[in-house]
Subunit: 173 residues, 2 copies
């Protein structure tokens, strides 16, 4: 990790590197740049999460709606972001059998209809069996509770993406 | 305009159609979907603008930072959004002479260094001479005043993009 490098970035570089920490929401990275300098990963992450927490409910739902379905249309069309592709692949969601794919598509549709946003889960911390189980379970949760759960998953995903950028692959900085 | 069609869209369709009303900020369209149904263009637009106005200053700066420079790197690399490409072209910014291009690059760099966001202007309402003049003028404005001016330009751009989608080209809906 080289926070001096992060802190020296102009906003264009910063958004290029951190723009997808929150899936398809470069606006959030672009806003976080206003809070530089950052002392460490933890502080940088804190600003991403504080921005999410301060949004009105519609904005928090908006963040969720920028996420793709797991094993959904975008995966089949090859239009996932690089990060999502890697995460869904690591959970085995890019190589589902026809039956699992169909079951997931049905549950995803029920979930979207019930909550008005897609089912979001940190796929790298899961696998195909757990994804189906968790989706079936969360489908039955009260909407206000489920919004909090889903935003928690957004933060887990963001934490892993930030850690990738800052810890595992310093060459990318 | 067919607001019945707009109001019948699921959030995926809505973000596909309106996701770039605010440049590279699909989060905002995704949030606005929470406010449906909409009675007309004016009401739909009101929700986009209210979302912008309710953001903290860092978020408003973040919106500006998602915009490309006029006649800048993204235009030269061909990575502008379709909407930006069209707008910059209509102002003659895609066919600048070497001298104008150089002058604009210098002023853009000064502007970014002074304000921490790129120079944003509704290019369709302007032309190459006016862009250079306005950039030189706005470079001298106080930062708080300039933030308000720039967000006003974001709204002009958004208004024109919404009008395109809802009025001129109903086939796209």
């Amino acid at each position: 990790m080289d926070m001096a490098k992060v802190n020296s970035m102009d906003f264009g570089e910063f958004v290029d590197v951190f723009g997808n920490v929150i899936e398809r929401c470069p606006l959030i990275a672009a806003a976080v740049w206003s809070q530089r300098p950052f002392s460490d990963l933890e502080e940088l992450e804190k600003h991403f999460f504080a921005f999410i927490d301060a949004l009105p409910q519609s904005g928090q739902e908006g963040i969720l709606r920028c996420h793709p379905d797991l094993a959904g249309r975008e995966q089949q069309q090859g239009t996932l972001t690089a990060e999502s592709q890697r995460e869904q692949s690591s959970a085995g969601l890019t190589s589902l059998g026809a039956e699992d794919r169909q079951r997931l598509a049905e549950l995803n549709a029920q979930y979207r209809a019930r909550f008005g946003f897609p089912f979001v889960l940190a796929a790298r911390l899961s696998d195909r069996a757990a994804v189906l189980r968790e989706l079936a379970r969360r489908l039955r949760c009260p909407p206000a509770h489920e919004l909090r759960t889903a935003l928690g998953e957004v933060k887990k995903i963001g934490h892993l993406r930030l850690a990738d950028l800052l810890l595992s692959d310093p060459a990318r900085l």
